[in-house]
């Protein structure tokens, strides 16, 4: 089963690479979809079954559709006007991205040492247990306030986004 995780990780990284460097914005959006799917599988393997579902529902079913609509609304049909790579920040972008690598490598190795790994049996138990009910309980106790705040924020986002996108009468 570990193979599937490895494949998902490769899918995530490879698709993200294409998202970053492909000049065609539509292809970027499509590969972003695959990247999301790979991340969902990774969540599954980390014992986050409900989150994997949320990831697919929200990102694949929602955000991707939204992005595709926006691309199709703003591009000339079949002629993607913007050959996309190459803003003013190309050089800083490349430099910053390359410069991040050693830091990230350092952080990675250090963090790997710093993590006080949970005891394996506890980890296995955690990974195997269904999370939906637990998340529900948490949303009703410790995380009640953030949850309500976010639902209200979503309402605000709805009103704002619809107001912004509405065609002028």
């Amino acid at each position: 089963m570990k193979w599937i995780l490895l494949v998902a990780e490769l899918l995530t990284v490879g698709s993200a690479l294409i998202v970053a460097i492909n000049p065609n914005i539509l292809y970027s959006a499509v590969f972003l979809l695959f990247s999301f799917l790979g991340v969902a599988v990774m969540y599954l393997f980390a014992g986050a079954d409900f989150l994997a579902g949320v990831q697919v529902v929200v990102y694949v079913g929602g955000v991707t559709i939204l992005i595709l609509f926006a691309i199709m609304l703003t591009q000339w049909l079949y002629r993607l006007k913007l050959k996309d790579i190459g803003s003013k920040f190309v050089v800083p972008g490349v430099v910053l991205a390359l410069g991040l690598v050693p830091f990230l490598h350092r952080g990675l190795t250090e963090l790997g040492k710093m993590v006080q790994a949970a005891p394996p049996e506890k980890m296995a138990e955690f990974a195997g247990s269904p999370k939906t009910a637990l998340i529900g309980k948490a949303l009703l106790t410790n995380y009640l306030l953030p949850f309500e705040a976010i639902t209200i924020l979503l309402l605000g986002a709805l009103v704002g986004a619809v107001w912004l996108a509405r065609p002028k009468a």
Binding site: E9, T12, A16, Y59, G93, A161
Partner: protein
């Protein structure tokens, strides 16, 4: 088998997430297209989510990381909706979504 074990440990998750973060930042900086910048932001948010989920399992073996990721995903959706609405508004105004053209405030 070594690679497989690696991929199932926290280092695998951290590696993937850091690569996503790097690619996301790269994408944000190099894209001219405003939607392309949004794609980069989504990558960065996913990187953060992977980190939280990974630490939730490997470090604490508790739920808190997953809760944070849940909130990240929820907010990311709202962010995408609003950002794309702004992009469409901008497009209606300027007939382009080239982010470098978004300099109305500069003058």
């Amino acid at each position: 088998m070594n690679l497989l074990d690696f991929s199932n440990s926290i280092e695998g998750y951290l590696l993937v997430s850091s690569i996503l973060l790097t690619l996301g930042i790269f994408s944000v900086l190099t894209r001219k297209n405003a939607i392309g910048i949004l794609l980069g932001v989504e990558l960065i948010l996913n990187a953060a989510g992977i980190n939280f989920v990974a630490f939730s399992k490997f470090h604490l073996a508790a739920l808190d990381g997953q809760m944070v990721t849940l909130f990240i995903i929820l907010i990311a959706a709202a962010e995408a909706a609003v950002a794309l609405a702004i992009i469409l508004r901008f497009y209606r105004l300027k007939q382009t979504i080239d982010a470098d053209e978004a300099s109305l405030l500069r003058n």
